[in-house]
């Protein structure tokens, strides 16, 4: 059948082995990652990929076999995603993240961080003043579920008791720590994600968070437990509030670039800000984990005010130095 010896036929017969080879390599990679390939196969991959691409262009020009073209398209797409896809060694990436990328991203958001912290302080001071003047305001800031009886009607002895609950009172420490962590992480993620809606929900969330803090402090202050309650709150609060502030800052940076994209398109501006903010957020989750541990364990196990306050001070110092201490050597290294 000489007349039926199609050109597209010969084309396929000549190249099919290479396609099959690429397909088997891809199947292995997609199952277990690039580790599954040895050195020669890794070198072979881009070559096979480019061959497949050229086959695809050619097939589109000379072949009318739909099945063949669909196959080549799918093969090239899979190979493309491998050749140009995400690839990283987890440990190396993790080290790079904590040593350089995260602090740099946080420093990059310093304007938003200042705004976010300002809003939180505003909320705290406002709520403190309001509750100090009229204790009924307390109920507007703190939902009953969270108060656990710690409201203006409580006695001083009861309030003092809540500050120094021993481990016995919370024998379910792990549960408490887990609950606090997920609760706070969710709030932080909301603060970040809602920034998309032009910053406003984030601003409300951060301010509200500050207001709850202020209302609690005002309640304890009225009973002469001011310093003690600061110790009780801040042993984990430094880390937690800092994390929420950063989450708010990340949200603001997205909202701001959506509202004022400059000379980029709105979508481009959003995705650029989104990726940078996501870096900050990844770290915020880690911070909240630390805060959850401090809140769930350290606070119950350490009953001394001075010790609590010094831990609070130490965490503030550590986070501050970690993020903002100038690192000339590292920065030079990263820009080079």
């Amino acid at each position: 059948m000489a007349e039926l010896q199609l050109k597209s036929h010969r084309f396929r017969a000549e190249r099919e082995a290479d396609w099959r080879r690429l397909e088997t390599l891809l199947n292995r990679v997609e199952k277990g990652g690039a580790r599954r390939l040895d050195r020669d196969e890794l070198v072979e991959m881009p070559v096979l990929y480019r061959q497949a691409l050229s086959s695809l262009s050619m097939a589109r020009a000379i072949s009318l076999d739909q099945g063949l073209i669909a196959y080549l398209e799918s093969l090239c797409t899979r190979a493309y995603f491998f050749v140009y896809g995400a690839r990283s060694r987890p440990l190396e990436r993790l080290a790079g993240f904590f040593l350089q990328e995260w602090p740099r991203a946080v420093r990059g958001l310093w304007r938003e961080t200042v705004v976010s912290a300002g809003l939180m302080i505003l909320g705290a001071v406002g709520a403190f003043l309001l509750v100090a003047r009229d204790p009924d305001w307390f109920y507007s800031f703190i939902p009953e579920a969270l108060a656990h009886g710690r409201d203006p009607t409580a006695t001083t002895a009861f309030l003092r008791g809540t500050l120094y609950e021993g481990p016995d009172a919370h024998h379910a420490l792990t549960t408490l720590a887990a609950f606090l962590f997920t609760h706070n992480a969710q709030i932080a993620l909301f603060a970040f994600a809602l920034g998309f809606a032009l910053c406003l929900p984030t601003a409300a969330l951060v301010t509200m968070n500050g207001a709850m803090l202020g209302a609690f402090l005002a309640l304890f202050y009225a009973h002469g437990l001011g310093l003690q309650s600061v110790g009780w709150l801040m042993i984990h609060g430094v880390t937690e509030l800092f994390a929420v502030t950063l989450a708010g800052a990340a949200g603001f940076s997205i909202g701001w670039s959506v509202a004022f994209p400059g000379d980029r398109t709105r979508v481009d501006a959003a995705s650029e800000a989104g990726r940078r903010a996501a870096m900050v957020m990844a770290g915020v989750v880690v911070m909240l984990f630390v805060a959850g541990l401090l809140e769930g364990f350290a606070r119950q196990l350490i009953q001394n005010d001075i010790a609590r306050l010094s831990i609070a001070g130490a965490t503030a110092l550590i986070w501050g130095l970690y993020f903002y201490f100038p690192r000339p050597r590292l920065r030079a290294g990263s820009s080079a």
Binding site: L4, Y84, L194, G274
Partner: protein
């Protein structure tokens, strides 16, 4: 008169955009267009549901394991461990399940793989870890905010506010329906997209089998000129589907169209195979000379 005035007052109809079929141009650095198909909303929902089921299944298995361990050791911390598993485990799985799988070379969670989807960077570059993190952190408001509002209790004004919030947050869930590429907010924030990337197997060339089966069937040039590329592709999909009814019907239609009067000595399947091989040879030969005949109305 009035009708004419009415017609004049009415605006000329805007030229309609052709319905979007979801195919997008996607040019690799080598300059070849890979033509990607955007994932449909339903497919993405399906993938997400599968993932949710897997996560729930994992949590249940973990809980059962914890229960068994507590029972065997007689520990009183069983309930506490279960709480921790559901609180912390749900959070960790929810976030790291998606991130972990999407960072792998496959770029897809098991649910996405099952529905043939994967995540890609919209600019065609590398899919970075930051992008994967951003798109998954956004899920928190898209998926988990509406239920929070829906199940928020309340009376009077509070209930009204909760209902309004639920509607408002519903915007996020339906967001993918209001843009061409079916992007959700997370995709927008991360600069990613979800595309269909199914695995395909290389199927045998139909034109290869055709002539060997029939041998004797020969078509004249006029008979082969009855159709174009579009019809050839329809014929190919009919042959590949292997549905007996469709094959008989198509075979009859073609015989009528090309005036095949001779009695059919071979099966419909074999006849169609032979015609396919002949038509493809003819069309491909003409393609080599620079004329691609789009369909049967495309006369040279």
């Amino acid at each position: 008169m009035t009708a004419a005035a009415e017609a004049r007052r009415r605006k000329p109809p805007r030229p309609r955009r052709p319905p979007d079929d979801g195919w997008r141009e996607f040019v690799t650095p080598e300059g070849v267009d890979l033509r990607l198909k955007m994932a449909a909303y339903a497919e993405r929902c399906g993938a997400f549901l599968i993932d949710l089921l897997i996560i729930a299944g994992l949590l249940i298995v973990l809980t059962i394991l914890a229960a068994v361990v507590a029972w065997r050791t007689g520990s009183t911390y069983g309930g506490e461990a279960a709480m921790a598993i559901w609180l912390l485990g749900a959070f960790a799985l929810r976030n790291f399940y998606f991130i972990g799988f999407e960072l792998r070379p496959g770029g897809a969670t098991p649910g996405k793989r099952a529905t043939g989807l994967r995540v890609a960077a919209r600019d065609g570059g590398r899919l970075t870890a930051n992008a994967v993190f951003a798109r998954n952190a956004m899920r928190e408001i898209e998926v988990f905010l509406p239920p929070i509002f829906l199940f928020m209790g309340g009376q009077g004004v509070d209930a009204g506010l909760a209902a309004l919030s639920a509607v408002w947050s519903g915007v996020f869930v339906l967001f993918p329906l209001f843009n061409r590429d079916r992007l959700r907010l997370g995709d927008l924030a991360a600069g990613t997209m979800v595309v269909k990337a199914p695995k395909r197997v290389l199927r045998p060339d139909l034109a290869k089998d055709g002539p060997t089966i029939v041998g004797g069937l020969a078509f004249t040039e006029a008979q082969l000129d009855a159709y174009g590329v579009k019809e050839l592709h329809v014929l190919e999909s009919v042959l590949r589907s292997g549905q007996r009814g469709a094959i008989t019907e198509v075979s009859e239609r073609i015989r009528r169209k090309i005036g095949w009067d001779a009695p059919l000595e071979v099966s419909d399947r074999a006849f169609l195979g032979a015609y396919y091989a002949g038509l493809r040879a003819r069309l491909e030969a003409r393609m080599l000379f620079g004329h691609r005949r789009a369909d049967k109305f495309d006369r040279p």
